[in-house]
Amino acid sequence: MHKFANPARFMRLSKIFLPWFMGLTILLFASGLYYAFFLAPEDYQMGNTYRIIYIHVPAAYMAQFGYGIIAVASAVGFIWKHPLADQAARATAPLGAGFTALALLTGSLWGKPMWGTYWIWDARLTSMLVLFFIYLGYMAVWQTIEDRVKAARIASIVALVGIINVVIIKFSVDWWNTLHQPATLMRLDGPTIGGDMLTALLLMIGAFNMFFITALIWRIQSLILRRRVRAIRMQLGGGQG
């Protein structure tokens, strides 16, 4: 665990891996988009409109994946005072919030032709919206507290309380109202879509995932560099960085 806590080692390793991740992202996006737009057939009910799910579903997964990363990184950072984990959690938040916003946006664009309105208070849309606000709150904690170490401790507490509540909120919102179609991919009896549609969707999910990881490494690198710049400035006595 502590072997990877060293930011210098992270910088070294990430420099080797990053180009590969980037290449993989581009490859997956290219093939995924090709499948999604050319190979996957039109839906017999929804026509071409359904193709928005190739953006919407991966974005929604990434929104939840992002919060999962924040929660795990926060737990590691809180328990072992692991500085890299704190940075990882911090770096994930804007990405996760961005994907949440993307999922909300594509969801409402899809809703207009399907449900006839941009927004309905459907259970999944609503819990996505709440997730977005939880992301915002988490990011606000980092922004408000100036002292880095303190900010990391408090942000991790907020994230951990948040993850418990995300689950409860999801459950209670489902209880409150449900109109959205049930899950098609994660089912015990296998996915209900097949063939090229499934391939396209899986490729797009893979592409989003790789993009997420690439961007995350990038952001962690820049956070570490920013800290280093600040430290150097302090040493030179140049005041606040």
């Binding site: 809180f78 606000a140 408000t144 401790r153 909120i169 209670s172 919102v173 209880w175």
Partner: protein, 222 residues
């Protein structure tokens, strides 16, 4: 141990009695928020009847939120919070006691004046008792989760807005189960499961809040 917690609760109650104004101001705010709705929506009895439960719940939530930043603030300013950390009393117990004191000084007075607001908002007669009951069961969760938020923001200068941004999303389950239970009672459906989920949420937040809030206070005052 229990005695110490009771002493802290008694101290907070005494402090709030002597200042007096805080509790009355929160009650005033609660009434004002509810009164704003008929002005905004119109005085039709049918509509008021329909929205009354939700409006009262939201107003209670906001009033609770308004009083949260004082939960640890005064203790932080006069140094009592440092003494609590140094004292042999576990900080978790202190937090628990302060949350209970917050509930007694904020939510309980709100619940007491709720029937009057219910009359003004044309709340159906069958809903009075269920509304009071759900508020009794649900508002402890507001104080406990609020305690986490208050402890996170206690050392910050601009804590108030951050506090509401952090805490309001976490209040959604209380709002959902609280108003669902009352609606079920009005419609004559069984409301038991909503009530149980609501009290479960309160108990659960009572169980996690002391740990989270104590950790946040320690991190903040380090």
């Amino acid at each position: 141990m229990l005695k110490l917690a009771l002493l802290i609760i008694a101290r907070d109650l005494r402090l709030s009695m002597r200042h007096g104004s805080a509790t009355t101001m929160v009650m005033g705010f609660f009434v004002m928020v509810v009164i704003m709705f008929p002005f905004a929506i119109g005085p039709e009895q049918k509509i008021l009847e329909r929205i009354s439960v939700g409006v009262i719940w939201v107003a209670a939530l906001l009033s609770c939120l308004l009083s949260l930043d004082r939960m640890f603030q005064t203790d932080y300013e006069d140094g009592s919070l440092d003494q609590f950390i140094l004292s042999p009393v576990p900080l978790e117990l202190v937090v628990l006691a302060k949350c209970i004191a917050h509930w007694l000084t904020t939510s309980l007075p709100l619940i007491v004046i709720t029937p009057i607001l219910g009359i003004m908002m044309n709340l159906p007669e069958a809903a009075f008792l269920p509304l009071i009951l759900t508020m009794l069961l649900g508002t402890p969760a507001l104080s406990f989760i609020g305690g986490i938020g208050a402890s996170v923001t206690v050392t910050l200068r601009r804590g108030g807005i951050l506090l509401s941004l952090l805490i309001l999303p976490l209040y959604i389950p209380v709002l959902i189960f609280g108003s669902l239970a009352v609606k079920a009672a009005i419609g004559g459906y069984p409301a038991m499961e909503h009530l149980m989920l609501l009290s479960g949420f309160s108990l659960f937040s009572a169980a996690i809040a002391p740990w989270a809030a104590a950790a946040a206070i320690r991190a903040g005052l380090e």
